[in-house]
Amino acid sequence: MTAVIWNPAQESVEEEDLLARIEALKYAGQSPLFDSSGKLLSKISKAILASPRARAAPQYVALGYWLRAAALKRMVADFSAKHLSENGSLLVPRGLALHLPPTNVDTIFVYSWALSVLAGNANIVRLSESLSADTEWLVDLIATVVAQSEESERHVFCSYSYGGEFEKKLSRQCDLRMIWGGDAKIETVSQIPIRPDGLSVGFPDRKSMALISAEEYNKAPAETRELLATNLFNDIYWFDQMGCGSPRLLVWIGDGIDKSKDLYQRILSIAEGKNQTVEAGVAIGKIAFANDLLAESIGTSACHYSNLLEVTDVIDPALALERTQGGGFLMQTNVEKIEDVAAFTSRRIQTLTHFGFSEAALNRLAQSISGRGGYRIVPIGQALQFDKIWDGVELFTHMTRRVIIRLN
């Protein structure tokens, strides 16, 4: 069987040769937050931000900024040098990490890999066998910088078939496995054991929603509304609304949602202004989905603003959130107070973005959903922003181990 390795250009390779490459990976001798790892990521950041291709795509710009040295330093401040050996314990890398990113949210593999680089691990990133042109460009760029920085002995970017002997042998080497992308994938991949003392972390299917205070929206001046609409546009349309954090349900809290049309008109104008398009097949799918929700009594009425935006009023948000339709499809509902959101916040819910609430209100929300679901409460516009805590998992902590040191 053949596999693919980035060397740093893509090449075909026999599985046993890839395995030999992986067995030879070095992971000894580098501490978390080692200088060279920060430098490597910083070079990648520069390469991304310097590329015209990335400048045209907001998700790559966001990635480029996220990888800047200053930003990374801020993010891992909790783990900075003075904490590395506190309480008589020393933070060390976990070892060899295997990253299994999702097929199409193509920046996830970089976030997962970059944090693991900072943790000091050696890494295998297994990419999909069918990559989009954009993803291929991004992998090529990163593999090239890694090779130029003489870090190829620590990081392998590759692609191989699931379900074979090779996957078993490879997995046996790994101290950490990060499985991104869906219940079914996690279930299949998890049947293959990693090292007996290894740690396998899965990030399953999640759905997200946006919460807006109707009163605050109605009071807000035009500029504020316009900014909100721009942020919502980004949250919805990046990744075709198919990211776990992409909002699917918009919840108006309090009275006066007659203004909702104003918001949707603004989103629509922004989408049109950015020349956002929707394929005919997706548009028909969205119309059919709105009809399905109505037929099944989940929805009560629907509005086709244009092929770009379809909005359906739902009376059963819990059922509505179990369904998936991307490409510019919003469901909306109305509740009296922010705590009422808890009723339909299940384990499946990941991100709750918000507009127009006080810190006290958001704390009440966090209290009310605790033990039910919901992993992030962030402002509208940050739905897809990657964070060091993901789905409740402290990524950096999981990517490292602690060695206890006692003097006597």
């Binding site: 994938k185 992409s246 059919a288 709105a290 037929a295 244009s306």
Partner: protein, 359 residues
């Protein structure tokens, strides 16, 4: 049976001009919308929620339409479940959702009458000896997909003394074809098959066999996907069969299980014509407004046949174009349509990898 359908079917098939047809269809479609609104609860919720209630449409293109995929996701019927006599399903590979169409006794007889009137228009009033371009295993052997077998059986009732041109392995059955041609002995006969079988398993196998099919009338249908792969269009199809077999009377048709009985039949100019009781509207895929004639778009089909389920106005996933209106060649009136292909399948992929092994 609604009055407008009686009127449409009392005319010579495929003879109604656009204006007269539009007026008749408007009344008939409004009557069907009202009937299904009253009898089919999910349909009522869609009309209320998406179309702001059932109002009398002022023109045929203002009649509410359902995306055809809804028959895969919903159970839509306008008769009591115990009145359902036949449930039709569309073809589909394993694991794929299939359409379910519910017919009571009346709907079933209406669709048979309607299909008969369309086919008799090209076959004549008397049933002809029939050469099926398929194998009889297609409806005898349960391993075959049901839809193809059902299609063959459904059309077989319009012929007699059936012979089958292919063996169960879809190889040419020369003996059966020669015996059939000896039997018909120069009289007219009827041939039916799915387009790709007619081409790949019949034409490509028999083309050098010196068959004389000049008395035959071929009716064929089915996806053009395999034909496009072979870069064969309708014009080449007709001329190749004419050259190889002297076969001149060839009629393609376009139809779907969701509007069973309504078939767009190929007229003398090679275009597809909707029967009197139905029509085609082409919509712009961005605005969903009616596209001007000559401009390609998404095909919407309306038909007065669906009485037992709300399928009288459907947005398909096919692309087409209206080439002529009321061309009138040999009396064929109304819109002359060309089907171009399918709306490209759209796949939105996200964080969730559907099949881990394929990712």
């Amino acid at each position: 049976m609604i009055a407008a359908l009686e009127t449409a079917m009392s005319q010579v098939p495929y003879s109604m001009a656009y204006d007269a047809r539009e007026a008749l269809l408007k009344d008939g479609l409004n009557a069907l919308t009202a009937q299904h609104y009253a009898a089919c609860e999910p349909y009522r919720r869609i009309i209320d929620g998406y179309w702001k209630g059932a109002t009398n449409a002022q023109s045929v293109d203002a009649v509410p339409y359902l995306p055809v995929s809804l028959f895969k996701t919903q159970k839509l019927m306008s008769v009591a479940p115990e009145a359902v006599r036949v449930t039709l399903t569309s073809s589909g590979t394993t694991g794929q959702a299939v359409s379910r169409i519910f017919m009571d006794a009346e709907a079933s007889s209406i669709q048979q009458r309607a299909l008969a009137s369309s086919l008799m228009h090209v076959l004549g009033k008397k049933r002809l000896p029939m050469l099926v371009i398929d194998t009889d295993a297609v409806f005898k052997d349960p391993r075959y997909m049901s839809a193809r077998g059902a299609g063959v059986l459904g059309i077989m009732r319009y012929g007699r003394n059936h012979a089958f041109a292919l063996t169960p392995n879809l190889q040419p059955d020369f003996d059966a074809v020669r015996a059939f041609l000896d039997d018909v002995n120069g009289e007219p006969f009827f041939m039916f098959g799915f387009t790709y079988l007619v081409w790949i398993n019949f034409y490509e196998q028999f083309r050098d066999a010196g068959l004389d099919l000049s008395n035959g009338i071929l009716i064929h249908s089915g996806g053009w996907k395999k034909m496009i792969e072979r870069a064969v269009d309708n014009i080449q199809f007709r001329s190749a069969l004419g050259q190889a077999f002297k076969l001149k009377k060839i009629h393609n048709f376009y139809g779907m299980v969701e509007q069973i009985g309504s078939i767009l039949l190929e007229g003398p100019d090679g275009l597809l014509y909707p029967p009197n009781f139905s029509d085609v509207i082409i919509r712009d895929p961005v605005t969903w407004e009616v596209a001007p004639n000559g401009t390609p778009g998404v095909v919407q089909t309306v038909s007065l046949l669906p009485h037992s389920y709300p399928g009288h106005s459907l947005l398909t996933e096919d692309l087409g174009v209206i080439e002529t209106v009321d061309a009138g060649i040999n009396g064929w009136m109304g819109k002359g349509v060309r089907i171009i292909g399918r709306v490209p399948k759209a796949e939105l992929r996200g964080c969730s990898d559907v099949i881990a092994a394929a990712a």
